[in-house]
């Protein structure tokens, strides 16, 4: 029991460390000029992939804290992206049990839907509150890049660190790990 608890804490710390590494790479002052196409939002993909594979490794508080810090560091309107990502991860967390058995393509489709909803809600709310935001085209390119990068993040940030979806036999009827 005790080493299961430390295992849990270890994976949570690992998630925080991965998020910190992603933020570090994004803050590096390379390619400072404007006019570059936006890349995928790796932090959001990291949270979504981990919440589907192992929901108890990423509690809501951890996700909220990590994304709130990211909002502050990346010059985004504080709190909005965090709120939307929390809603997205909670939606996926509720379905993570069913998603264990679905083929990867369907899971990708569902995650794509959630990502689109987050991006759209972000644009709508910013438009509602008259906050200047990037043009529609750039946001769309970012959205498509994020959706396309989901399998890469699943492989790199999931399988590579030893995360897999829970297979039958690993948990008993009550959902506790053996």
């Amino acid at each position: 029991m005790a080493d299961r608890a430390t295992g849990l804490l270890g994976y949570r710390v690992l998630f925080a460390a991965l998020a910190a590494a992603v933020a570090f790479v994004q803050l590096l002052p390379l390619n400072l000029g404007p006019g570059k196409l936006p890349g995928p939002d790796v932090l959001m993909l990291l949270a979504f992939s981990w919440v589907i594979m192992r929901p108890d490794y990423v509690p809501v508080a951890l996700i909220a804290a990590v994304f709130f810090l990211a909002d502050l560091l990346f010059m985004r309107p504080i709190g909005l992206w965090t709120a939307l990502v929390v809603l997205g991860t909670e939606f996926l967390r509720a379905r993570s049990f069913t998603l264990r058995d679905t083929p990867f393509l369907l899971e990708w489709l569902l995650v794509a839907g959630v990502i689109t909803a987050v991006f759209l809600a972000n644009s709508l709310i910013l438009g509602l509150f008259a906050v200047t935001q990037a043009g529609f085209g750039l946001t769309l390119i970012g959205l498509v890049a994020t959706i396309l990068a989901y399998p890469l993040v699943v492989i790199l940030a999931g399988r590579a660190v030893g995360l897999k979806k829970i297979v039958p036999g690993e948990v008993d009827r009550l959902g506790h790990r053996q």
Binding site: F24, L27, L28, P29, L30, F68, G79, L80
Partner: protein, 290 residues
């Protein structure tokens, strides 16, 4: 329902940011200031390592560049001599004139340690802050070639520069030689827009653009760039500053322009109301002496 509460709290923070933006941005600057400069030991070497890897990719280009830099260094040494002589001559002449240069126009040099982290925000973080260098919000930043942006967000050891290409950047400029005023508006592309030009037919591509100092916000006369006519038909600015290679930036210390205070000394303070009723006697003028 803890999740619902959490989401509501986050949305409330967003509302707070929207309503009281300066306070929220100060909070952001404090957090960034505590976190990012502590990573300078990692950010700077990694940046330099990536640049080195790019350099290794074309070894021949590196050798050629080395040779060119050596030649340039030799030429620069000659310029350095000339500059030193001019500086001495200048000091002598100024002394003759008894002119004192404004000590307010000094510079602080800072190094770029981090990006803004988002492709939609054009800003960089400098490693000079309020504690040691006295950086204040709104000061102009140049890179030696031309204007780069302004300080927007100051922490103890770091400060954020909002580049001219960011969509929130607005700088009043003057287009020479016609002398027209315009507003340089960033729109997240490499060529910011020149807005509100009164007589666009008097402006020609290639005209030099300098900061106008309107509103006492920026010092006047800083070179910003040259006018170009973009493909979409609008007048845009090609910046002289080298945005691809921002490394060492100079922050110009300028105090805000002098504002004329309201003439408070003209009308004196209200006298207290008399507590005793005035009699006829008091109202008569005093008899003059003599």
């Amino acid at each position: 329902m803890a999740v619902g509460g959490l989401v509501l709290v986050l949305l409330a923070v967003f509302l707070l940011w929207r309503i009281d933006s300066p306070r929220a941005e100060r909070f952001r600057a404090q957090i960034v200031d505590t976190i990012v400069p502590n990573l300078e030991w990692a950010l700077v070497p990694v940046t330099e390592a990536v640049d080195l890897v790019r350099g290794f990719q074309s070894y021949a280009a590196l050798q050629r560049q080395n040779r060119e830099l050596r030649d340039e260094l030799q030429r620069m040494k000659a310029w350095k001599e000339a500059a030193l002589q001019l500086e001495q001559e200048n000091a002598k002449l100024l002394d003759l004139n008894k002119v004192r240069l404004d000590p307010a126009l000094t510079v602080v040099t800072g190094q770029v340690i981090a990006d803004s982290g988002s492709p939609f925000r054009q800003s960089v973080l400098l490693n000079v802050g309020a504690a040691r260098d006295g950086i204040k919000d709104g000061w102009a930043v140049t890179d030696g070639l031309g204007l780069v942006g302004r300080i927007s967000g100051v922490g103890r050891n770091s400060s954020r520069v909002l580049l001219l290409t960011d969509s929130a950047s607005r700088v009043p400029v003057t287009i020479q030689p016609s002398g027209q005023r315009s507003l340089l508006t960033g729109d997240n592309t490499a060529l910011p827009i020149l807005d509100f030009i009164e007589a666009p037919e008097e402006v020609r591509p290639g005209d030099r653009v300098v900061s106008s100092g309107d509103g006492g916000v920026f010092p006047a006369g800083l070179l910003v760039g040259n006018v170009v006519l973009a493909r979409d038909g609008r007048l845009r600015l090609r910046l002289t500053a080298d945005y691809e290679r921002l490394e060492f930036l100079r922050v110009l210390r300028n105090q805000p322009g002098e504002t004329i205070a309201p003439p408070e000394g003209l009308v004196g303070p209200l006298l207290p109301a008399p507590s005793v009723a005035l009699t006829e006697e008091d109202l008569q003028p005093e008899p003059a002496d003599g």
